[in-house]
């Protein structure tokens, strides 16, 4: 068996008496889209924060491409090729869309102790940034201040920034959050297009999207993984239905 | 080293410490609850000192003068909060710093116009101006003991209010969630005004007790304000307990350091070098202490807020 892209072993995190991540074990295979679903408060965003290095884990180990990254900082993980998007849009509001992405390109282009040449006229930053914007469908919106983009466009920009760091693994925290039907469909196509080039860990509430995209799904309840498997397996799993899917209208799942 | 001198300096340190606590308490509450950086807090120390000096002279009684000066300072606090500071809560810290910096200029000038630019002195009544022997052979000024006692009583009072009363519950709730307090049917605006004015009274009280120790002049609160900042940085912003411990720590370190650091240095270097470096090092001691604590705990000893 090939080495896991991301290996999570015995990961724990609690806030006071609240256990957010409870002895979690999980292997993410290279190239797969692995969705993590679960009811609100299941600890999904906490998990993303732990995996990206924003939160320090209480116990356990995270390895990325065979390398122990448990105690690495967020920038260091990013430099290794682990990118994330945020559940609440986190972009540079007062920069243009293009500059947002160019900053992400610049992050991977060595140190930034360059004080003289104007960054916004540097083709080594601008060209890849334009490319990433075009790939994500914002090719003609580069000069617009990020704050003036529509919500859906800002969500796309989130992904474009993550992509521009040339990651091998993407941690996507609810990329469809707050999107309309058309925008969601567009995002699903987009993520579909990334498949193969990137391993993706996807947190998402939109079950249509999850079942359309995921190769495997892990169901998280109170910080514990109660089931991991292919979408069909998860749909059939009784424990899952009882613990989680039962709370959603079951026709949603049938539709997928 | 003379143990009696050490004891006397420890008392001086304690007295300075409780004074700093009185100033820092209001500052840390206002910051913790209203998220307001108020540089003009030092002006309230000054206003308290001036009001007390005037009212003591007017009533010809130390006790009555102070008793009138306290509500007067409370009134000034209410006025300042309602007229000027209320609009600043929603502003960023930079705006707050600049606007309250403007307030300092304003208050110092108002004081100069009313009381003049010269220092004024307020004497002490006979029953407070003597000395008592704290232990045989160690006389100590009565008034400084009174300051220590008042400071400790007020500290206990503030702690009780914040930890055990309905007001304290509202204060703690207000710090984390304004809407919640609103939902309880409490007027959050009045609560803020009250808390601010309470902080003003504590600061004013510090000023009133400072008056007889030194002289009263425009801007007397400002050096103390910066020390109070050091106190709440070390203690952890928003934490009364932290402010108390840090205030005593700073009071002790500063007072004892000034006396004993030059003496200590003489052990290691020549007398001349110790006499030069001693005062210099002593004046930097508390800031070095602050830096050292922050290296270990960047959010102070008792971080009350995580946000």
């Amino acid at each position: 068996m090939t080495e896991a892209a991301l290996r999570i072993e015995g990961l724990c995190k609690s806030f006071g008496s609240l256990v957010a991540t409870d002895d979690l074990h999980l292997d993410i295979a290279p190239g797969e889209i692995h969705a993590i679903i679960g009811p609100n408060g299941a600890g999904k965003t906490t998990l993303i924060a732990q995996l990206s290095g924003e939160l320090r884990s209480d116990r356990g180990r995270v390895s990325f491409a065979g390398r122990d990254i448990t105690s690495m900082s967020m920038p260091a993980r990013s430099a290794l090729g682990l990118a994330r998007s945020f559940q609440v849009t986190s972009i540079f509001q007062d920069f243009s869309a293009l500059d947002n992405v160019a900053l992400a390109v610049q992050a991977q282009a060595g140190h930034s102790f360059h004080f003289w040449r104007p960054a916004q006229k540097d083709p080594r930053l601008q060209d890849p940034a334009r490319e990433a914007l075009a790939r994500i469908g914002l090719g003609d919106r580069g000069d617009v201040p990020a704050a003036n983009l529509s919500h859906g466009e800002q969500r796309q920009l989130e992904i474009a920034m993550a992509l521009a760091t040339r990651p091998s693994l993407l941690l996507l925290d609810e990329p469809m959050a707050g999107m309309g039907r058309d925008e969601s469909r567009h995002m699903v196509d987009l993520l579909q297009g990334l498949k193969g080039d990137h391993t993706i860990v996807l947190i998402e509430h939109d079950m249509d999207a999850v079942f359309a995209l995921a190769d495997r799904i892990t169901v998280l309840v109170y910080g514990r993984a109660i089931a991991t498997g292919a979408p069909a397996q998860i749909r059939a799993d009784r424990a899952v239905r009882a613990a989680y899917l039962g709370t959603e209208s079951s026709t949603d799942i049938g539709d997928a | 080293m003379d143990p009696l001198l050490l004891l006397e300096q420890a008392f001086n340190g304690l007295q300075f410490g409780v004074m700093l606590f009185l100033i820092a308490a209001g500052l840390t509450l206002v910051f913790g609850i209203m998220d307001l950086v108020n540089l003009a807090h030092g002006s309230l120390v000054m206003i308290g000192a001036y009001l007390a000096t005037t009212l003591i002279a007017w009533t010809d009684s130390f006790i009555f003068g102070i008793a009138l000066a306290l509500p007067a300072t409370f009134a000034v606090g209410v006025l300042v909060e309602v007229v000027a500071l209320r609009t600043l809560y929603r502003r960023n810290h930079l705006d707050q710093v600049l606007a309250t910096f403007g307030l300092i200029l304003f208050f110092n000038e108002v004081v100069r116009i009313i009381w003049g630019a010269q220092s004024i002195y307020s004497g002490l009544p006979d029953y407070l101006s003597g000395q008592v022997e704290i232990i045989p052979g160690a006389p100590y000024p009565v008034f400084r003991l009174v300051i220590i006692a008042v400071g400790l009583i007020v500290a206990a009072l503030i702690y009780t209010i914040v930890a055990h009363t309905r007001l304290g519950m509202l204060i703690r709730a207000g710090a984390s969630n304004n809407e919640m307090v609103g939902a309880l049917g409490i007027n959050i605006k009045s609560l803020f005004t009250f808390v601010f004015a309470l902080g003003a009274v504590f600061a004013g009280l510090a000023g009133m007790m400072l008056g007889p120790l030194t002289s009263v002049e425009p801007g007397i609160g400002e050096p103390l304000l910066i020390l109070a900042f050091v106190v709440i940085i070390i203690g952890g912003i928003g934490s009364i307990r932290g402010a108390f411990i840090a205030a005593i720590l700073i009071g002790m370190a500063d007072t004892v350091g000034r006396v004993f650091l030059p003496v200590l240095l003489r052990i290691f270097v020549s007398d001349a070098a110790a006499d030069t470096a001693g005062p210099a090092l002593a004046s930097m001691l508390i800031y070095i202490l602050m830096a050292a604590i922050l290296v270990v705990r960047p959010r102070g000893l008792f971080p009350a807020r995580t946000g």
């Binding site: 900082s73 | 000027a84 930079l94 705006d95 710093v97 200029l105 100069r112 959010r299």
Partner: protein, 325 residues
């Protein structure tokens, strides 16, 4: 930085450039001294704008670097070293070093802790200066003007003026380049959204520290010039109200615009000069109490004057002035 800002910068610098011939023409040497002072404080304010406006670091102890630059000149002069080619680099080196040390500790914190810590560190050096009896303590010390091997005569008002002018113009140009460079993008983006910067792979601390140190170094240059202008150095230059005033200049002129703080320094010092005179006209002895008007002016600027003086001239193209703390 847009074309408008460049135009405003060029016009402002041109106005500064024509001051000396005008003072000669109208025989008003006093103004030469005054505008020299304005330009020196403008250098300090511009350096603060780098970290405050572009970097979002609300440093409340910036005057301390002026003090270090000034004391470096004063102390070297005290020991008989008047050579400006030694004094100025050492003054900037010392400011850089202190900036590096204070920045390294202050930047571990953020928000209001940062404001208070920078203030406290400045206060520490203020008291240190007071306790140094050898260098005049509270009273300060006199300092001879620097010697530049006969190239510039610092005692010639016009030559000294143009040296300061050249420093200001150079600082503006260098920082203009810096703000637009890769480094500048990192600094500005860190103000905008630091968490996002971490997530895309920037260890922001080292960049902020570098910016903090650069700002301190430039402010040290202003301090060295200041010591020359006054031929005197005292702890007052490091007083916390002086830090506050430099901050006011930045806000008054327009934060995050580089040229704005130059306008702010001009406005502040002109107000300081003329407000007492105007108040004297309104009431007897009113001049003494000019601060009673200055205070509310500051508050009004904070509450109503978004963008400062710069915004009066520039109708569009603001560089973000949002503060994140």
């Amino acid at each position: 930085m847009n074309r408008q800002q460049i135009w405003i910068s060029l016009i402002t610098l041109t106005l500064f450039a024509v001051v000396p011939p005008l003072t000669v023409l109208f025989d008003q040497p006093f103004y030469l001294d005054m505008f020299a002072r304005i330009m020196i404080l403008a250098i300090a304010a511009v350096s603060l704008d780098l970290i405050l406006g572009h970097g979002g670091m609300v440093s409340f102890g910036h005057a301390v670097y002026m003090g270090i630059g000034a004391y470096a000149v004063g102390i070297l002069s005290y020991y008989g070293i008047d050579n400006g080619f030694i004094q100025f680099p050492l003054a900037m080196l010392a400011s850089a070093l202190i900036g590096l040390i204070f920045g390294a500790m202050s930047l571990r914190t953020s928000g209001v802790y940062f404001i208070m810590i920078t203030l406290a560190f400045a206060q520490m050096l203020f008291f240190l200066a007071i306790s140094l009896e050898e260098f005049g303590g509270d009273d300060g010390m006199s300092a001879a003007r620097s010697e530049f091997a006969g190239l510039i005569d610092m005692y010639d008002g016009v030559q000294f003026y143009y040296l300061i002018f050249a420093c200001l113009a150079l600082v503006l140009y260098l920082l203009h380049r810096l703000v637009l460079s890769r480094f500048g993008m990192v600094i500005r983006a860190s103000r905008s959204n630091e968490k996002r910067m971490h997530a895309i792979g920037y260890p922001t601390y080292r960049y902020k520290l570098a910016a903090f140190t650069i700002a301190g170094t430039i402010c040290g240059l202003a301090g060295a010039l200041f010591a020359n202008l006054n031929e005197f150095v005292s702890p007052d230059v490091m007083h916390w109200t002086h830090s506050g005033e430099i901050m006011v200049m930045v806000i008054m002129g327009g934060i995050g615009t580089l040229i704005g703080p130059v306008l702010g320094a001009s406005a502040f010092l002109l107000l300081e000069e003329y407000l007492p005179e105007w108040m004297e006209m309104v009431m007897t002895n009113g001049g003494e109490h000019w601060a009673i008007v200055m205070g509310p002016i500051l508050i009004a600027i904070v509450l109503f004057g978004r963008g400062g003086i710069h915004a009066l001239f520039a109708s569009r193209g603001k560089i973000g002035v949002k503060q994140n703390d």
